[in-house]
Every structure is written in C-alpha cells, then in structure tokens.
Amino acid sequence: MIRTLAVTIILEGMIGFAYARWREKPLIPLLVTSAVANLITQSLLWVALNVFFRHYLVTLWIAELTLWMMEAVLFFSLRWNRLGIRDAFFLSLAANLFSFGVGWWLPI
C-alpha cells in the first residue's frame, strides 16, 4: 500500500505541478492538498478493495469515480488553492486519469 500511495502522490503531484505552472496557481498548496487527499482516498480505496475483493473491477471503477469527486471537492474547498469548481474537477480528473492509467500497467 505504501508503494502504491507513494507512486500515486508522485504521479498526481506531477500533474499538480504542470497545472500550477500552466494556470499560474499556487504550487505548494496544490501539492500539499493533492498529497493529503491521496492519503485519505487511497486508504479508503484500499479498504474498499479488501472488503469487496471478489468484485475487483466494479469496486475499482466505483471507488475511482467517488475518489475523483472527493478530491475535486477538497481542491475547491481549500481557499489557498484558488481554484473554481470547474478547475478543481478538471485538475482532479486529469490527476486521477493519469495515475490510474499509469497504475493500470504497473505490477503493483
């Protein structure tokens, strides 16, 4: 789990870094929010997958959709990120799609 979490935080951090540069948003708050959000959401994902291990793909898809929205709300809620609701959902979607896509092919 620690390995998965570390990879996710790094991958989503990269997207956060690129987004902050592109849209001129505060970098450190975005990275900290992303890391904290991943700590919470990855733990929930881990529990969900362990409980519903017989239905891996269904659980994964439902959990990923939920986590995307949770992270977006967190990005939006914290004022120092200076993100509107659309920006927050876009950033969360980009970060989660990237980490999900890479993670799909990783043997972890």
């Binding site: 291990f53 709300v73 993670g103 990783l106």
Partner: protein
C-alpha cells in the same frame, strides 16, 4: 533548475519502481497471490515454470489458465511464485514444473482475499495448497463490520464537506 531536478528524480523514482517487476515484494491495488513452497529452501529442487488455472465452478470443470495481460500473470522464481491480476476467479489450481522434470498439480483452492498468501506443500505426485491467514478469510461478520466502519468514515467525510461548502456559500 531545481524544479527540473525534482521532476527528474520523481520520474526516476517512478520508473525504478516500474522496472522492479522481478522483486514484486510489496502489495498493491491489484489483487495478488503469493505462494510459499515448503521444502525448496535446501536448493535441491527448484521451480522451472508454473501455470495458475482459474475456475468459476467449485469443481474446476471450467479451468482455464490465467491470461497474461499487462502485469497480469503468474511469476515464478526458484522457490516461490506470485500471481497478480485484474481480479481473480473464485477457485484455482496451481500447476508447477520442477527441476526434477516432474509437473505437479495442486488441489482446488479458493481466493482467500485481496492479497492472498498460500503455503504449498510438495508431495511426491502433487501439490497441497493451504491458505495462510488473511483479512479476506475473516468471518462474514468481520467483513461487514469493516465495511460499516468504512461507510461511516466516507459518510462523515461527505457530510463534513457538505456542511463546509454550505457555510462557505452563505459567507459569500
């Protein structure tokens, strides 16, 4: 320049993990199975290759090998095997070819959990696979309690966010 360095080391870290496919030491978000073989430690007998059969039926009448798809597959070293997949069927049979030229088949065993661990005993003609303790084989009540706690945390988080957003919109 410093940021480029950070990006470079981040990439290096990710790809070092990606390239560490042979170690496969840690657990991850994909279901896995670990097989520890008893009696291979002295080095006389080693694993040559293996096939993990997946079955939906409890008698394994519909057995088919685990498909190799991306990282999905059965990976064997000299004394152990590990399977990783995008979900497993409920029942399995393990077939291992050993260095003595013999291919041994296991009994039918169940998926024990998200990251299942099994002990494999090598017998003269076959293999005996036994499940090690795992969260997935906790009694049903244990699973329900864990699920309830999880749902409670999720519910509390969502409720907290709703209250926070409502207060924020009122202030605005």
């Amino acid at each position: 320049m410093r940021k480029i360095k950070i990006l470079f080391w981040s990439f290096a870290f990710v790809f070092s993990i990606f390239s560490a496919q042979t170690t496969l030491a840690d657990t991850g978000p994909k279901p896995s199975m670990e097989f520890e073989f008893e009696g291979l430690q002295d080095g006389e007998l080693t694993i040559v290759s293996g096939i993990l059969y997946e079955c939906s039926q409890s008698d394994c009448s519909d057995a088919s090998p685990l498909e190799e798809l991306g990282p999905q597959g059965l990976y064997c070293e000299a004394t152990s095997c590990r399977a990783i997949g995008y979900g497993f069927a409920p029942y399995h049979i393990l077939e291992i070819e050993f260095s003595d030229g013999t291919t041994r088949r296991s009994n039918i065993f169940e998926t024990a959990g998200f990251d299942s661990k099994y002990t494999v005993m090598i017998q003269p003609d076959d293999l005996l696979v036994e499940t090690q303790f795992n969260l997935g084989i906790l009694p049903r009540t244990g699973t329900i309690i864990v699920a309830c706690i999880c749902a409670l945390i999720l519910g509390a988080a969502i409720l907290g966010l709703i209250i926070f957003l409502t207060r924020r919109s009122k202030k605005a």
